[in-house]
């Protein structure tokens, strides 16, 4: 009986329909006090819908919610907050131009006797919460000037300020570096240690096994099963999630490196505030190999890729592509030499979201025959090509004329991959190619990268996911504070060595 009293949240038979989609189908869930309960599922499986039901953003068509044993009706976020349920959304709900204090107090303001905002009092409260849960943050900092990891802490403080006892974290690690994620896990433990209960929504298997007390797997709106990490493993969870066996480890043959395709000499790039971001980088990428660039986000990888693709002018050094000096070349010239680019931020730099899938597929070729003639676009030719690529690259879209912004993340990435790889590719630059994607899509993208390599392209893979770098690369360059600290042979190194280099610990010190 004691166990029953421990259930802080129970969801029974929740069903939510959208036009044409059964997003949640008869879902049951129990959350115990002080536990981390992971909800695992692919993108579009219905995890976020379920959480929006719990948070009052959606109304369920059927089903009941019990909090602390009492049946509750949650019609709005306010009801959820009053019932002690708080949510950290995948896209942060913070006003960028407000300070931490202003964001925390918004909607639950503390006023002075003359009805002005009492920011000092709230700031004190934030400091007290920071101290209690080791969530260090400066109450007077502007949100837009804080790193994502800290912004996330602000979101958590917002919930604690509202005295939430049940915290829903929606894909909290999607935007974090591995270090920030570890930091978050510590915070989560410190929260559960003080009696808070956490629902942890994710599609990352390793994280589930590492941190969750219970796991509930959802597929196509249904609960597939609930288990605990000690009774399962990665491949079992993956197949529960996807509904078929999944290759978690990419199969790849031995690389056959050919001639040098890309040569970078002593490259220096500064950012918009004139801070040096790439500080004398030199590297070669050969045909038929994957060179992985490992490093924590923000160590100059973004600027390096921008310089290589012609999006940013370097301030020093030299870039040679297939024997041609492209240091000052524009992006079109670099593209025409056979460079494919999968950008880091697919929604900002990879696609024009309000355009159709078909138009996105010709962004790099629209000006050529047969897609345009005499300066006029040939829509029939574009559509014909688009339909072919949608088939070839398995893009799940209702039609070629669908707006790219309405596709799922995985399918948006497939549109970019289709556009970039449907030509003859000499150099493929893939930056964070699987960020935020589900297991199925990751498997697909990895396969495509290996295929490009085997077809003789030079592949430069930039990723902050260490596992991805370890699995795919033939050689690994580790970037730290704008410099390549070392280039390692993937066969003779290990996670630990690369991880330490990423953290800026030099090799000699590792040995010592």
């Amino acid at each position: 009986m004691a166990k029953e009293n421990n259930v802080v949240l129970e969801v029974r038979n929740i069903t939510k329909r959208f036009p044409g989609v059964l997003a949640n189908d008869d879902i049951d869930l129990k959350l115990n006090r002080g536990e981390i309960h992971a909800i695992l599922g692919e993108n579009g499986a219905g995890k976020t819908t379920l959480m929006n039901v719990l948070y009052g953003l959606y109304q369920p068509d059927e089903g009941e919610i019990f909090i602390q044993g009492k049946k509750v009706a949650i019609h709005s976020p306010n009801d959820a907050i009053n019932a002690g349920v708080g949510m950290v959304h995948q896209h942060f709900m913070l006003v960028p131009v407000f300070t931490v204090t202003e964001n925390v107090m918004l909607g639950k303001e503390v006023l002075t006797p003359i009805s002005t905002l009492d920011k000092g009092k709230v700031a004190d409260e934030i400091r007290a919460i920071s101290q209690q849960y080791q969530l260090s943050v400066d109450p007077d900092a502007l949100i837009e000037e804080l790193p994502v990891g800290v912004q996330q802490r602000v979101e958590i403080i917002k919930l604690l300020y509202r005295q939430a006892s049940i915290l829903i974290l929606d894909e909290p690690t999607a935007v974090l570096t591995p270090q920030e994620a570890d930091e978050l896990f510590k915070i989560m433990h410190s929260l559960t240690g003080r009696g808070k209960s956490i629902i942890f929504i994710t599609h990352k298997l390793k994280e589930v096994l590492k941190i969750a007390d219970h796991v509930t797997v959802i597929r196509q709106g249904k609960v597939v099963g609930t288990t605990t990490p000690d009774k399962t493993n990665e491949s079992q969870l993956a197949s529960m999630m996807v509904g078929r066996d999944v290759l978690l480890n990419v199969k790849k043959g031995i690389s056959k490196p050919g001639d040098v395709v890309l040569q970078v000499n002593n490259l220096r790039v500064v950012d918009s505030r004139a801070h040096t971001q790439v500080d004398g980088v030199s590297l070669d990428v050969h045909a038929g190999e994957i060179l992985g660039i490992a490093g924590v986000q923000g160590n100059g990888q973004t600027e390096l890729v921008e310089a290589l693709t012609g999006l940013k002018q370097p301030v020093g050094g030299r870039i040679t592509l297939l024997g041609e000096d492209v240091t000052k070349a524009n992006p079109r010239r670099i593209t025409e030499l056979g460079t494919a680019h999968i950008p880091e931020d697919r929604q900002r730099d990879g696609l024009v979201l309000p355009y159709t899938v078909a138009n996105n597929l010709v962004l790099n070729t629209y000006y050529r025959q047969p897609f345009s003639k005499g300066g006029v676009l040939r829509h029939d030719a574009i559509l014909q090509m688009a339909r072919k690529e949608i088939r070839d690259f398995d893009i799940r879209t209702p039609s070629a004329s669908t707006i790219a912004g309405s596709l799922s993340g995985g399918n948006q990435q497939k549109v970019i991959v289709a556009r970039e790889l449907s030509r003859t590719v000499k150099l493929l630059i893939a930056s964070q190619p699987t960020r935020g994607l589900d297991v199925g899509s990751i498997e697909y993208i990895h396969k495509r990268l290996i295929e490009s390599r085997d077809a003789g392209a030079a592949v430069l893979l930039v990723s902050s996911e260490l596992d991805e770098i370890m699995q795919l690369s033939d050689r690994i360059a580790v970037m730290f504070r704008g410099k390549i600290v070392d280039i390692l042979d993937a066969k003779s190194t290990n996670r630990r060595e690369v991880g330490l280099l990423m953290a800026g610990v030099a090799r000699e010190k590792q040995a010592a």
């Binding site: 959606y58 976020p77 959304h89 913070l94 006003v95 202003e102 639950k108 905002l117």
Partner: protein, 335 residues
């Protein structure tokens, strides 16, 4: 940090503003020394020129801070000028005339809110509808030769009015000019130091974030657009029953759009809009003075001066300004 270093910090951060203000103050002092009567007249006229512009800019910024673009200020001012004038002509009570002007502006605001929040019409089109509607209605019902009930009187503020220069310029004015000055500081205080202000700004920057903490985005926008309409209406009443004392067709003469520009130059802040509005008022007053001075430049070119100087000074010195992030985007609730 003690007070004096704080002041130094502030002056360093606002260097352009400081230099600009210093130049203007020195110019005024020099001019007052040479010709006190003209200087006083020009400055008083500058304040009067700036009043409808500043009120219009406050109307615009209260809307835009909550995420609604209001290009209908011109129309709100015009139709309120008309109804105020009608009340003053037929009833003869000027206070009632002002109140009716404010109410008219609020109704026009309600219409804009209904179109842009509830119907989710493109806000540029919504504002244009109000402008055209106001022009049409006032043009249709306007009768030539209708005599108004007079102008709002000048109220000298006791001993304050006796201060040299400042007394005549700042403290010897009719009521709407005073209320514009008060509103600038009141709106500033409300926007940055009260719950209403915090919520308004959050709705204009990130409405979904506001929604998730239980703030009613639709209601906030309605309230703001209606309040703003009232201030736009006050600007209209200024034109017909404080400044001119009668109504003419299209008498707003683009002031609503100038107000919009002044709001942007003032970086969507009441104090900034006030400064930019005063600059526009000053150049307008100087321009009038030049025309009286019998200079042989065609008056059309002299008439352009206020616009050109305002744009050059503000575009050149103010730097980049950033509108509220969610401006112009109708809010859609999830689910």
């Amino acid at each position: 940090m003690n007070a004096s270093t704080r002041i130094v910090e502030f002056l360093k951060k606002r260097r352009v503003l400081t230099i600009l203000s210093a130049i203007i103050v020195i110019a005024i002092a020099w001019s007052y020394n040479n010709n006190p009567v003209v200087t006083q007249a020009v400055l008083a006229s500058a304040l009067r020129h700036s009043t409808p512009i500043v009120l219009g800019a406050l109307c615009g910024l209260i809307c835009e801070r909550s995420g609604i673009v209001n290009i209908g200020i011109e129309g709100q001012m015009l139709i309120a000028a008309f109804t105020s004038f009608l009340v003053s002509a037929f009833v003869g009570n000027l206070l009632l005339a002002v109140l009716v002007g404010i109410l008219t502006g609020m109704i026009a605001g309600l219409l804009l809110a209904f179109m842009s929040v509830t119907l989710k019409v493109d806000q540029i089109i919504g504002g244009t509808v109000i402008n055209i509607l106001a022009l049409g209605i006032t043009g249709f019902f306007y009768q030539q030769g209708l005599a108004g009930g007079g102008k709002l009187p000048i109220i000298p503020l006791g001993p304050l009015a006796d201060i040299p220069l400042l007394g005549r310029v700042l403290f010897t004015n009719p009521p709407i000019t005073y209320s514009a000055l008060i509103l600038v500081f009141l709106v500033h205080f409300m926007l940055f130091h009260t719950r209403w202000g915090l919520r308004t700004r959050s709705v204009g920057e990130h409405p979904r974030a506001a929604d998730t903490v239980g703030i009613n985005v639709f209601l906030t926008r309605y309230i703001n657009v209606i309040i703003a309409g009232g201030i736009g209406g006050l600007a209209g009443a200024f034109l017909s029953i404080e400044s001119v004392g009668s109504f003419e067709r299209a008498m707003t003469n683009g002031r609503g759009f100038v107000a919009l520009a002044v709001m942007i130059f003032g970086k969507w802040t009441p104090l900034g809009a006030w400064g930019a509005g005063l600059l526009f008022g000053l150049t307008s007053a100087i321009q009038t003075q030049i025309q009286f001075g019998g200079i042989t430049i065609p008056h059309q070119f002299v008439g352009m001066l206020p616009y050109i100087i305002t744009i050059v000074v503000l575009a050149g010195f103010v730097g980049r300004s950033r509108p509220p992030a969610a401006e112009g985007v109708p809010y859609e609730k999830e689910g």
